[in-house]
């Protein structure tokens, strides 16, 4: 259950439910699955829902950041939604920098954000 990657298409937006405690292999697979789905569905926006993620180490964070850069290269916009407070604390303490990636409180807000943008 923890390893399930769910991809949902809502109009031209791809919603990705990121698994809560994934293997490294699952994280790598997630990146490929998202990029393929983006192309296949011709989505304009991608929401990475990380609301169930309790631990994000540097490998996990780096893969998400890279994925968002790859989405940008393909012409899409990424929003990261629902980071838990304890994950936000450790992310900053670890020294991770999410740069100019858009983050929002939850999936609802990301749909609002993308609706205005796209």
């Amino acid at each position: 259950m923890d390893e399930q990657i769910a991809l949902l298409n809502i109009k031209d937006i791809l919603v990705v439910i990121v698994p809560s405690d994934p293997h490294d292999e699952t994280i790598t697979m997630l990146q490929e699955d998202v990029l393929e789905a983006l192309q296949k569905n011709a989505s304009n926006g991608v929401i990475l829902d990380i609301s169930t993620v309790e631990i994000m180490d540097s490998f996990f964070a780096r893969t998400l950041m890279e994925t968002s850069m790859m989405i940008k290269l393909m012409g899409g916009v990424t929003v990261i939604a629902g980071m838990q407070p304890s994950v936000a604390i450790t992310t900053i303490e670890l020294g991770l920098n999410f740069g100019d990636i858009v983050t929002v409180l939850d999936v609802d807000s990301s749909l609002e954000y993308l609706k205005d943008l796209l």
Binding site: D21, I55, D57, S58, S86, T90, E93, L94, L96
Partner: protein, 134 residues
């Protein structure tokens, strides 16, 4: 300082990193750590377990419950017989990496815990000990 061994876990696969995260979460919760500190301990454990898996292929982690007077804590000791670290000061610098990473593993883990001790000998392996107090 009193230290009691709670558990020893091997690190030799991708799946072991996940298992170590789950067990260190359970153990630090059982010790009474609050969520933010549980997250710090587990994140540090994940970084160090992955370091072993990537650089030494295999190793072990020993988890200890610590008590010192009324103070409680947790200690995790990561050991491997891998290539060793040539210059510990250098790897503790942010952004230094010999692998394909951001080089946040050791310096990142250091910021998440109260104490980190690294011993390493070229060709003989590495031992990293972290302590988090409540």
């Amino acid at each position: 300082m009193n230290s009691e061994l709670l558990e020893m876990m091997p690190i030799k696969s991708d799946g072991d990193i996940v298992r170590i995260r789950r067990r260190t979460r359970d153990l630090s919760k059982a010790q009474g750590f609050k969520l933010a500190d549980v997250t710090r301990v587990v994140t540090a454990a994940s970084e160090l377990a992955r370091n072993i898996y990537h650089y030494a292929q295999e190793g072990t982690v020993h988890c200890y419950a610590l008590t010192e007077g009324r103070r409680k804590g947790i200690k995790l000791v990561f050991e491997d017989k891998g290539p060793g670290i040539e210059d510990i000061e250098l790897v503790m610098e942010e952004g230094y990496s010999t692998g394909n990473s951001m080089g946040l593993g050791l310096p990142g883990a250091k910021r998440l815990v109260d104490k980190i001790t690294i011993e390493s000998e070229m060709g003989n392996g590495t031992k990293v000990e972290i302590i988090k107090w409540m």
